[in-house]
């Protein structure tokens, strides 16, 4: 019940916030962007606001965080008080500071991973759709095979082989995600390549790279963006699931996924500490997808009216 009440309050609070934010945007931004801002639903405004805050926090982490990322500044599990607003963690590091730095690391890693996955996945996918034939078949079969392997166990294998530096972590998760992206990109691109303008470009004698870059990609973007939103958030989950299996981010780097894992046991005793990083992830997920939904809705030629 308390949880529900809390949710209601949060939602109630976020609505005027979002409204204010949108209003300010409309005021401050140059006219042509302001128009866009003005039409965006409150949910999207809320999403943008949250993302903005996260980016802000991530960038200014060292300035904002009251304590250093790794420093042990108290005894373990201190309650919330005036010095440690959110108490301390299992090693006596300041929870708030960890969260703030976590934003930087987690969002950074997640972004890098997802971007990599999308560059590789969508390029290959579009290329396959464009060329068709054996290339398409070969690539798709191979990707099918990779997708048939449970992703978590696959990443586990790869990470055990290549070790768990942040770099390998990014590469491995990106590789696994890329297969999913490939699929979507391919199916979307297949819808685009039948268009007359592609035919025209082919007849003009354009090369593959131009076709992919200028003709197909821009028109396949919308659904890819939507996927980006979800995948982006799934990276956190993958990371924390991996650290559940003993891999994941290198300590003492603060990262939400591992923070959830490290403190998860506490929930057994009704201690809310692990809810903080988890909440942070959830909030970002919701925010990102609100924005994505809005973008989709605009891209879909305002199909969905409201």
């Amino acid at each position: 019940m308390g949880v529900l009440l809390f949710l209601v309050i949060v939602i109630a609070a976020s609505i005027p916030l979002a409204w204010l934010f949108r209003a300010t945007l409309v005021r401050t931004l140059p006219h042509d962007i302001a128009i866009v801002a003005r039409d965006m639903p409150l949910t999207a405004a809320f999403g943008l606001l949250v993302i903005g805050v996260y980016v802000f926090v991530a960038v200014l982490a060292p300035v904002l965080a009251p304590f250093p990322e790794r420093a042990v500044v108290g005894t373990q599990f201190q309650p919330w008080d005036s010095t440690h607003w959110l108490g301390t963690d299992r090693l006596g590091r300041d929870m708030l500071s960890r969260l703030i730095y976590g934003a930087r690391n987690t969002v950074g890693i997640a972004f890098a991973t997802t971007t990599l996955a999308f560059v590789v996945g969508s390029l290959l996918g579009i290329w396959a759709a464009l060329r068709g034939g054996w290339l398409d078949q070969g690539l798709s079969r191979f990707v099918d095979a990779l997708m048939a392997i449970p992703s978590l166990i696959f990443s586990l294998l790869l990470l055990t082989i290549f070790g768990t530096t942040v770099m390998t972590l990014i590469l491995v998760i990106a590789a696994v995600d890329a297969t999913r992206v490939y699929r979507i990109a391919r199916s979307v691109a297949q819808g685009v390549v039948v268009m007359d303008y592609i035919e025209a470009a082919r007849l003009r004698g354009e090369g593959n790279w131009y076709l992919i870059r200028r003709e197909i990609l821009p028109n396949a973007l919308a659904p890819l963006v939507a996927e980006f939103g979800l995948r982006f958030c799934f990276v956190f989950l993958t990371i924390s699931s991996l650290s559940f299996l003993g891999l994941g981010i290198q300590p003492p780097t603060a990262d939400w996924g591992s923070m959830v894992r490290d403190n998860a046991t506490l929930i057994t005793f009704g201690n809310v500490t692990p809810l903080l990083p988890a909440g942070a992830i959830a909030l970002l997920t919701v925010a990102v997808n609100f924005v994505v939904d809005w973008q989709l809705y605009r891209a879909s030629g305002l199909k969905e009216q409201g």
Partner: protein, 520 residues
């Protein structure tokens, strides 16, 4: 679960000399237990939730490699010799044992003991059971115990083992948990059978899930095995174990996340057993490799660690600060008043300068496989070291394969020891030049010399001096950082009672809680 293998390996020689007792070892029981103390009562189903056990576990005694296998084995098998709660060798299937020269050992086999299958335990069974671990084709983890064994033969009710050289320790080897007595036929045992002569009879077993056993009706020890049934569950997730205990689905769990011990106690739904012993956590440094080849650097690191903080945070207080001393308070010649190493950044800096460097940067390779909390411990270490201008760069390795690819491979790692009851064993296994588990590849002439001398020294005081000098050498010139001695921490349901003393020689009362404990 390789860490447990490691554990086994480390401690399998950690047994007792003759009548030597583990001085202060064993548990000072909490009030609740004393209150519960009374004559053991029969009955009940004892459910154990262990943080070990794999779906890949096999039956072969030679390959028992984790706590689950060990407890499961102890509940269905007996051995030649048992190590009691006081750490003394006591007869089990071997009624008695003797050797005139230390080369020929005679074990007298107890009569009137029978396997669960009903078959009597014979000398042949014992020989078959021993031979399973012996010979070139043997694939047992304790194969090398038997390398010096030239012959094993029967003589009436006796088993006679002949060695190529004298070894007064041989009986302690024979009490190793791998050496379960199993029924043999024409000189071989069936490694895949669960038939034994132990306290409980296996009813069902799903590897990595659960085993359930019922009391062996004609168990020869009348004063043991008080439970009607025993269920051993593999619960790998620590939160799951906690929940299982708190929701009354199990009566005993091991490996409690130190962070949560306090909260669990506060709940008042369980008793915490915290058993001090010689087990300790270590950070070995490869003394052959720079920069660790310079003792100043090693000292700098030793002063750059906050031991008390480690005990409080990593062990949740369930342990004791160690002064880089592999010899524990439970040992006879423990050097208690060797001057302690407080956390002292300035001193650390001083030694750095001595080593001719103003800053130091090293990689520390850790995984929770080394010991639970190793990663956190590394983080703490890195923190305190930073204050001394030493940059410890933490490298978290996968648990999986840690002992193959990191331990004794990388120059600076985390590891742990089950501890040794006897100084000589500890030093010979881990610190003598060229010893198989000298994981810091450390070598010190004086130390080696003393080690040999002390073995043959009769004068108690001289002997004490020698051992204390060795402890001081290891502590101040050695290449292993030993911040703390860790207790074995278990939690039980409130209605579980234990004997006066709980063994500190192994976890779970030397694996034998099933036959030693009872419900009130």
């Amino acid at each position: 679960m390789n860490d447990k293998t490691h554990h086994t390996g480390m401690t399998r020689r950690g047994l007792l000399k003759g009548a030597t007792a583990l001085g202060a070892a064993g548990l000072i029981l909490p009030a609740s237990y004393r209150a519960a103390r009374a004559e053991p009562q029969k009955g009940g189903t004892f459910r154990i939730g262990l943080g070990h056990g794999n779906s890949t576990d096999g039956y072969d005694p030679g390959l028992w490699d984790n706590l689950y296998a060990q407890v499961f084995a102890a509940s269905r098998h007996n051995q030649l010799i048992e190590v009691d709660a006081h750490g003394q060798l006591t007869p089990e299937i071997a009624e008695s044992w003797e050797s005139s020269d230390g080369k020929t050992w005679v074990f007298r086999i107890r009569e009137g003991v029978s396997f669960h299958s009903g078959k009597d335990v014979t000398v042949e069974d014992v020989i078959a059971s021993l031979n399973h671990h012996r010979g070139d084709e043997a694939t047992s983890a304790i194969k090398q115990f038997f390398d010096p064994v030239t012959d094993i033969r029967a003589d009436g009710q006796n088993v006679i083992v002949t060695l190529d050289a004298a070894n007064g320790d041989f009986p302690y080897l024979m009490s190793d948990y791998h050496l379960a007595i199993m029924p043999g036929s024409d000189g071989k045992i069936d490694p895949n059978s669960t038939d034994g002569c132990g306290p409980y009879v296996v009813e069902s077993y799903e590897p990595g899930v659960q085993a359930s056993l019922t009391r062996n009706p004609d168990y020869w020890k009348s004063d043991r095995a008080h439970f009607d049934r025993v269920e051993i569950l593999a619960i790998l997730d620590s939160a799951a174990r906690l929940n299982a205990l708190m929701t009354g689905q199990v009566d005993l769990i091991d490996q409690i996340d130190p962070a949560t011990i306090g909260m669990l106690e506060a709940r008042g739904v369980a008793n915490i057993l915290s058993i001090p012993g010689n087990a300790h956590y270590v950070f070995p440094m490869d003394s052959r490799a720079a920069p660790f080849d310079d003792n100043n650097v090693r000292l700098a690191l030793k002063y750059a660690i906050d031991r008390q903080q480690m005990v409080d945070t990593i062990l949740g207080g369930h342990g004791a600060v160690s002064n880089d001393n592999p010899i524990g308070p439970a040992n006879r010649y423990f050097y208690a008043d060797m001057e302690p190493k407080e956390f002292d950044p300035d001193r650390a800096r001083f030694y750095l300068r001595e080593a001719g460097m103003d800053s130091l940067s090293v990689d520390l390779h850790v995984a929770d496989a080394a010991f639970s909390g190793a990663v956190d411990a590394g983080a703490l270490f890195a923190e305190t070291a930073a204050q001394a201008g030493i940059n410890i760069n933490l490298v978290r390795e996968p648990n999986d394969g840690y002992w193959d690819n990191v331990w004794m491979q990388k120059p600076f790692v985390a590891s742990y020891w089950g501890g040794r009851a006897v100084e000589d064993h500890m030093f010979t296994t881990g610190y003598a030049t060229g010893a198989s588990w000298n994981d810091s590849f450390w070598s010190n002439e004086r130390f080696d010399e003393l080690l040999v001398k002390a073995r043959s020294e009769i004068n108690e005081d001289l002997r004490r001096e020698m051992y204390q000098e060795m402890q001081r050498i290891v502590s101040f010139e050695g290449s292993v950082i030993i911040p703390m001695n860790n207790n074995y921490v278990m939690a039980t349901a409130l209605n579980v009672a234990t004997p006066e003393r709980v063994s500190s020689n192994w976890n779970i009362d030397g694996f034998r809680a099933v036959e030693r404990w009872w419900f009130t």
